[in-house]
Symmetry: D2
Subunit: 390 residues, 4 copies
């Protein structure tokens, strides 16, 4: 993680986060650990709670604890443990919150301490939907920076990182050959674009389902099939939901699917596939056929295979984002935290974009790490582009 | 042009442009003619001047004249004729201006009548650079809508329309086999993305040159080679400039190029390839080897082939945007003109974005014309996406 | 054409074809002219007749005549002129025949002089089908070398050359935007593969129709849709036949097609689209909408657009193979002619493959012309690969 | 494995292998087990030895033993155990041999019982090189069917199966993000083509190294970079050898590589990366950084990461071919064994191709299993294609 490493070195030298309490509700992985250490290097006190019970790497958690970070989260923990961990984190009184799904910011607001926060970062679309609803309601009391909407996040990490790792998760879980198969991608945001691109790159025929006419048109212009989800249900061999919305695949879709269909979710929450309806429909029984594959047998014998219990497949069945991607993402978060601390109360309560200069700085460092050089505009070109009468 | 056709029908019924004088400085092609007729159907008086001497289709111009449109422009006209035509259009006193390069809006402002305009549309990046410079200087006196920056324009028309037609122009001009060749794309905006995508789709190895770190990083993540233009100069078989900036390929690039290299420009103005330097370097002579290919022979015998005199290759060597693309583009312009007339003086002087609802309306109509149906959010999904506590 | 140029230089020095009469029934294009001149440089007497009335470039024909080559063929000539030209070529008494569709070899055999030939080359699948039928019947009396089945021909020229130029022809004829369209490729031989690859590269969704299970399976594994032609008829926006077989698209297909469908043929003969049935069905009339596009209006108003009268679209609507491709192809022919002359009567009557060493020689020269260097096996590697007990 | 399942059912009904002793030296995986059971269903006595110590799945081996199959092989066994197992299999006296690398056929010949065999199948290029050397030497005494060269094997299984699974192995071993990286594929046979295709599909920039001019030219025409391995050594982030030859990556390549380069082998034997030279060069030490990744630190601090000890990466780091691919491959083997038993002594000693009808039968069954229907030629089309004068 060369970008975050350079940030960490600077933080260690400047100690600009001295004594600031930073609470994080993130996936507990090796990469998150590096972010925690960068913040700690800057002088921050850091506490971490697991954003998802299946993504927790227990050895990482243990190592962080050894480094003095407060960590709460155990692989495979239940709903009540999750909530208890979150409540403890809220009670600890963080001044800044790093969030992945808005649970932490939500919890701090419910506890009535939202307006005491210097600010927060949120890294999921789902979380931002919730935070913007709070903003509209007037209940959001601190600035939140939408790191998820930074260009480096959406155009790079969501697209290339999750694009690769979601399919990687599907391959590890199932060992399916994608060439010759039809992959249905439900949702054509940045992550959906990445999954569609990689599925095609793996030899699949790709169908996209969307509700937004811009995105649907773009998918079509890229050569993908575009159709309503009910039509796609009949054609797909592999389904991947990545919309942020609930009940994207429901009973009426399951009823039309082919024997052997694979169902995976790459959205943040496990709400996109209607799990209840799936189980109800499986009158022929549910059985584990591989470690992360549950086969649901319908009344007529058709078998629908649910991956990772409908949880986000790149984390639950693979290793999440590749480290290179997390490097950019977490460098962005670290630089954003630094700014919220250095310039307190500058941003109004509400959801804010990452400043372009922060974003561009990360892209620049990333290119450098890849050994790629680029040109700069000549003074003559700059003049031309800024004058209206050449 | 099904989208524009439906707009025209509505305009004809509503006559909301009755008596309004609309001046246009656009490429005089069959598609432009359809836009002129849609505006005339709405009751507007329309006058048209050629934006580029090589794109004028004389038969189209003649037919428009027959329909009562004032048209000025002849295929292959010289600089002085061009300026005379533009001056006449300015003198005619348009209330709205449809521009392609900001020459008309510039002319109207130099004539001191900028603040009398209801507004203008501009459809090129180059034009917007100039208009924004005017905005910064405080010399822009009317609202200008940046139709070129509408999503349907950039993400669809620039990328897919120019992507295809620029390569089409290169093929028609040269009959080169792209498979196995190295194509260097200078500039990775929407148009450059489209050209790079299509060049790869044609079997070429593609190298991208960029000055913006975001775009450079994206090109690299898409698998393209990314390097400074001087390095690319040694590798390329085909070069396409599409930056909006002048002197992107200069003497130092020419000196490094391989024998037989093809040089094309897909940017609006013929300033991206340093034509003067190319001719100076061609001590071995310049000769026409195909109708739109001028071979420049360097001192050591290497031959550099300039396409279409460095003019925008998709218009000068092919037929410009395919009609489907122009359909979206011109529907957007027609709807924007209607809005500027219906809601006069609502927009402040300055450069404005196309309102998303106009943009989305075009995407919707386009999908319909392709026979593609899409889903809509269920009420439950809408609620979920708008609430912060599911 | 650097490869053919080097062959021509050697031929000129060695004069090994001195006095040999070579008859050719080929497309009369600039590239064919170069082949003719290479043979003439070797000392051969050369006579040329047009293989297709629409591909003849009259200026090329005129220039060849000026060089002393006997040329028969006029752009757009009718069936009877074609046959008269062929008859004259047969009567001239060639000792070797270069054929494109087996008409010349067929004519020579019907004239009873087949067994006097030193040999022939054939460069189309269609021609080979006919020649192999003759071989089975025992009526083929001379050796014919299937240059069309050389690796450089099939895997390179058919795939990349026709792949690009067939789509180029469709674009020039129609100016259609391929992105977002469904292109149906009927026939997935090397040429069909190339067209499918390039259509996908242009942003189209591609459907393949095949009768061979290997090819159908390969198309599917490449991510293309594969289905019977009747199903594809309902989905396609653009249809390209390239099977070598007659009546691939017939009345029952036309009846299912969408309004605006484009019909093109990339096979050698104009038999793949049932033109008679199409005209019969066009009770609403047939009209020219662009120079090479005839619109057939069905009873219900749907319009089916036939390109180039169903003739091979890359030649009839574009410029045929790019010169680079023809360079390889014609170098192969020249080297084959030389071999048939140098080693007369070595090959038995029948259809023969191009010897691999000739084929490999062409690939080697082509890589050199592209500036590409490759490795060679080390002696240790050669030993390993040739011993069974490493 | 639907294709093999149908074959097994027929075998069970016909019992045409009754009492025949079939020895197999194959990777001991779930798929191999299914082949063993199909042969046993036909009445054969079956014995199995592990072709590779790292691919053995011990639970599979145990289950097969439970089914009465003689199995020899333990995950991670050493060279001497491997040889002892093979010797025991030879001593058992098989009448047919299923081989993966020619070790079993080689052993049987060294034991002097080669001419007693009804025949053998071989499924690797490496094995065939050895067998053809034996054929040339006159030491091969039984017919061997090159199942590896069947169209379904090479064009489907090698390309799509290994293409996907080799990259899958690299991802599982390293969790590298392929987008933006340069992947160097050494060897562009069917497997190399598949790896190159999938690497590009994953967003990598792909460079191919080849010694064969046809293959090198094809790679170039597909848009890949093509260059000598020493040049590629400086550019690559990930290297995959798949040539069948030894010492493809050697000291001089390692010396030029970038810090962090990943080295994987997808060829049958672990000879393609010069492991000895790599260790010698690693004066900074060798350490395990992930379970299957050994980091070799050069004197100047650069780190070269060897995957899976240079063993075939799709088996050693992932799960080998996906089951669908093995289904086709093993159906081909089962049908070939049946033919060797039903038509004993028909084939001469030597290496033979799989008969096209067997091959085509497998493709047909595979398409059926994918739910894909295709057309058949009409009688009129058949007549046309078989007559020379339409």
């Amino acid at each position: 993680m060369p970008v975050l490493r350079s940030v960490r070195e600077r933080f260690g030298a400047e100690r600009s986060l001295e004594g600031v309490r930073v609470g994080a509700c993130l996936h507990i992985t090796a990469e998150t650990a590096t972010l925690m250490r960068a913040l700690a290097a800057g002088g921050a006190e850091v506490a971490l709670s697991a954003a998802n019970p299946f993504s927790t790497q227990d050895d990482v958690a243990a190592a962080l604890v050894g480094d003095g970070v407060v960590v709460r989260g155990v692989h495979g923990e239940g709903r009540s443990e999750y909530e208890a961990h979150l409540a403890a984190l809220v009670a600890w009184g963080p001044q800044l919150a790093l969030d992945d799904g808005a649970d932490l910011v939500g919890g701090l607001h419910r506890a009535g301490v939202g307006d005491g926060l210097l600010g927060a970062t949120e890294e999921t679309t789902t979380g931002l939907v919730r935070l913007r609803a709070m903003e509209r309601d007037g209940t959001l009391r601190c600035p939140v920076v939408a790191v998820n909407e930074a260009i480096t996040e959406r155009a790079f990490n969501d697209r290339y990182g999750t694009g690769q790792s979601a399919l990687d998760g599907i391959l590890r879980a199932t060992h399916v050959l994608l060439a010759g198969r039809t992959v249905v991608v439900l949702g054509y945001g940045w992550t959906g674009r990445g999954i569609a691109l990689r599925a095609r790159g793996a030899g699949a025929s790709v169908v996209v389902c969307e509700v937004d006419p811009f995105r649907a048109l773009e998918a079509r212009m890229e050569g993908f099939g575009v159709m309503p989800a009910l039509d796609a249900a009949e054609r797909g061999d592999v389904f991947v939901t990545v919309t942020g919305a609930p009940k994207v695949l429901t009973r009426q879709h399951f009823e039309r699917m082919k024997d052997g269909a694979l169902l995976a979710n790459a959205g943040h929450f496990d709400v996109e596939i209607d799990l209840e309806a799936l189980v109800e429909l499986a009158t022929g029984g549910v059985r584990d056929v591989r470690p992360l594959v549950q086969q649901h047998v319908l009344a007529d014998g058709r078998r629908l295979n649910l991956l990772a219990g409908g949880r986000v497949v790149n984390l639950a069945a693979a290793e999440g984002h590749p480290p290179e991607v997390m490097d950019m993402s977490f460098a962005l978060q670290a630089l954003t935290v630094e700014r919220l601390v250095r310039e307190p109360r500058v941003l109004e309560p509400g959801v804010h974009a990452v400043p372009p200069e922060t974003d561009r700085e990360v892209a620049r460092l990333k290119l450098a790490s890849l050994g790629v050089e680029i040109d700069a505009l000549t003074p003559e070109q700059q003049d031309y582009l800024h004058s209206w009468a050449p």
